[in-house]
């Protein structure tokens, strides 16, 4: 195909393509559109429609608990309320810090794991398969598992910490201390998501040709130089994918927090998605909740665009 295309191009350049070929191409295109139509319609129904509806709601008063009050246009009031809300600002700060810490940790550890799995050793296939297990466990289940493991009465964490007797062992991890609660959330979240990063980066490593490393070695590059000058630049596309996915997941973190702390102690582990849940489900406020959702979409888009721009392969 690759050698065929330029030849055909050359043949057709001087004049118009034969009529038959043109209509056949158009028919092919139409058939193609027809084939993807169901998927596109479904995607629009579950993404574009809710997005537009949510945007519409965010400019309205719409609270289910006050069904007797009119669903009226309120302009940007939901947004001004949100921007001046200390609750929202605090949740935004927590979400951004959590996102920054988890993605740096996940990418660094995931990259290490990927480099390890890329090497040839006995049991490599088994290790590759088993690394995926945490990622395959639903977050609700893994959060419950970790909550149990950190339980001061039944969990193994305090059991082992108690055996070596550090001063801070036998403590209550969840809801009795802000930083300990975050540690547990962080552990549960990373345990589940590092394998995902590792597998994406491993796929990226596998498409780097060996010849490039050989050339680097011949030029006298040390292993560190080969990693910095060859591996990292060529891993960039995979890194962008891993970073975008992990950032979006971290920005939207909800289930692990809902299960483990319920946002506590106080509101100290409440993130933007948790606040969104509180607004939609508990307060049944679709207008204000819509504004919080839309800001989450904007933040996610800004991050994604930033990654694509700054990690674009240099030409």
């Amino acid at each position: 195909m690759a050698t065929d295309a330029p030849a055909r191009e050359r043949r057709t350049l001087p004049g118009r393509p034969p009529r038959g070929a043109d209509s056949r191409a158009a028919a092919d295109r139409r058939f193609g559109y027809l084939m993807v139509a169901p998927a596109v319609i479904l995607l629009l129904a579950v993404t574009a429609y809710p997005l537009i509806s949510n945007l519409w709601d965010s400019f309205h008063f719409d609270n289910l608990s006050y069904g007797s009050l009119p669903h009226k246009f309120v302009g940007g009031r939901n947004y001004t309320t949100m921007f001046s809300s200390g609750e929202w600002i605090a949740a935004l700060a927590r979400t951004l810090v959590f996102t920054a810490v988890t993605i740096v940790f996940d990418v660094v550890v995931g990259l290490g794991l990927a480099l390890m799995m890329h090497r040839k050793f006995r049991g490599r296939a088994f290790l590759r398969a088993s690394v995926l297990i945490p990622w395959a466990v639903p977050t609700v289940v893994s959060a419950m598992l970790w909550k149990t493991m950190f339980d001061p009465r039944a969990g193994f964490v305090d059991y082992f910490l108690g055996a070596i007797h550090p001063a801070w062992s036998s403590t209550t991890w969840l809801n009795a201390s802000v930083w300990r609660s975050w540690v547990v959330i962080f552990v549960a979240d990373s345990w589940k998501n590092i394998p995902f990063v590792a597998i994406i980066l491993l796929a990226g490593l596998q498409i780097i040709p060996n010849e490039v490393y050989e050339a680097a070695r011949i030029d006298g590059a040390s292993p560190w130089q080969a990693f910095r000058r060859v591996t990292l630049p060529m891993l960039r596309p995979a890194l962008v994918v891993a970073l975008i996915f992990r950032t979006l997941q971290a920005l939207l973190v909800f289930d692990v927090i809902y299960i483990m702390t319920g946002g506590g102690p106080g509101t100290s582990t409440e993130t933007l998605s948790f606040l969104n849940y509180q607004t939609f489900i508990i307060n049944t406020d679709f207008g204000y909740g819509g504004a919080i959702s839309m800001m989450l979409v904007v933040i996610a888009l800004v991050f994604s665009a930033g990654y694509v721009r700054f990690l674009r392969p240099q030409t």
């Binding site: 579950v46 993404t47 429609y49 809710p50 997005l51 509806s53 949510n54 008063f61 609270n63 289910l64 608990s65 006050y66 069904g67 007797s68 009050l69 009226k72 309120v74 339980d151 001061p152 009465r153 403590t171 209550t172 969840l174 809801n175 009795a176 201390s177 802000v178 996915f245 979006l248 997941q249 920005l251 939207l252 702390t261 319920g262 946002g263 506590g264 102690p265 106080g266 509101t267 100290s268 998605s273 969104n276 509180q278 939609f280 489900i281 508990i282 307060n283 049944t284 406020d285 679709f286 909740g289 819509g290 959702s293 989450l296 979409v297 996610a300």
Partner: protein, 431 residues
Amino acid sequence: MVWSNTVLWSNKSRMLAVVAAAAVGLAAAGCSSGGSSGKVAASAKQTIVFAESGLGTEGQQTQVAISAFEKANPNIKVNVDVLSPNSTTYLSQLEQSFTAGASTPDVFESDVTYPAKFAQAGWLLSLNQFHPNMSQFFPHEVAAALFNGAPYAVPWFDNPEGLYYRTDLIKTPPTSPAQVVSDAEMAMKTDHSLKEGLAFEAAKYEGAITAFLTVDSAFGGKLDPANLDTPGNAAALAWLHDAIYVSHIAPTAVTGWQEGNVEAEFVAGHAAFSINYPFVESLATAPPVKGNVGYIPFPAGPGGTPGSALGGEMLAINAKTAHAAAAYKLISYLTSAPVETARAIVTGDPPSLPSAYTPALLAKAPYFANVKTLNSYSAPRPVTPNYLTVSADLQNLFSSVYASASTSAAAQALKSGAAAIAKAASATPGS
């Protein structure tokens, strides 16, 4: 596009709500012989829908009572719609039906905290037209059934939260909060199989509010969102806080405990005292707690009254129903003394009528005598249409206090949080 699916869950929920509402509407069309046009007389042949969350023996006993009702009223057929046993999901299911303007369920089970919110939203039928005799029920639960002075629900059963203690370790029940602490300390010294002196719900959830309410009046406190920062409330919250950080009769683990965890600790013989609901009495069936269970209102301190928190369920009617008369007839039947007594024997749900605590009931389950005593003290949670928002704020406040070792944590939290909670309670949406 992970974000687009996840961020917009809210919209999907809403779409689901519409679909669910449509389904409910279709079901209503199929089930309700009278539809929503016009009112159907109680004597007409009709089908009504009753929504409840009861599973297991509770669900079975409801079905038994409904079968007896249908036999006594052959013109009325009752379809039971069993919704989620999870209270948050149950509430969402009801809200979806009401928001969609569905005429079913015609009659439904309601937590004691729902009537004010639902009445404010215009979803409940005022029961004034039926002239219910509310004075026959425990007055504290009736208070939670009223909105702007009118009855919107009828108490069905009444779950008072109180103080459990081990009668083998504590020979005479404590008569003050200070004595609870000293008795707990003494019990922990004498019985080394105890893991704590006191177990209570301090996790960030609704139970933290009822646990607080159980001790609140003993210190002269009152859970009034408009006036939260009072010496009584501060003393009650400080007492619970100090149980964790000063006297250490409660472990820090209570910050993650809900009523199930508290029950497990007490039933396993790990706790000398615990704050919990009546159902625990029937579960204390193994040593060392078997036969050694006392259940009392939380003992009053100076200037206070014995404490208990009101829990329980009511029955209410959908404002859009076409079968109000038949629905009220069902409510009257389910809340009659013999039916409540039969339910208490089978399910352990404490009757909402003092007259249902018959000698026959007390002979079969003697602990109902204690429950009846507690019911005369039980304090309702704030009756406000914004209760769920107030509840979330209170949970945050209590949770932050229980996570702080500072002895002034309770006073400081009440001082800084009271204004926001007062605002949440009185907020008028859309203004």
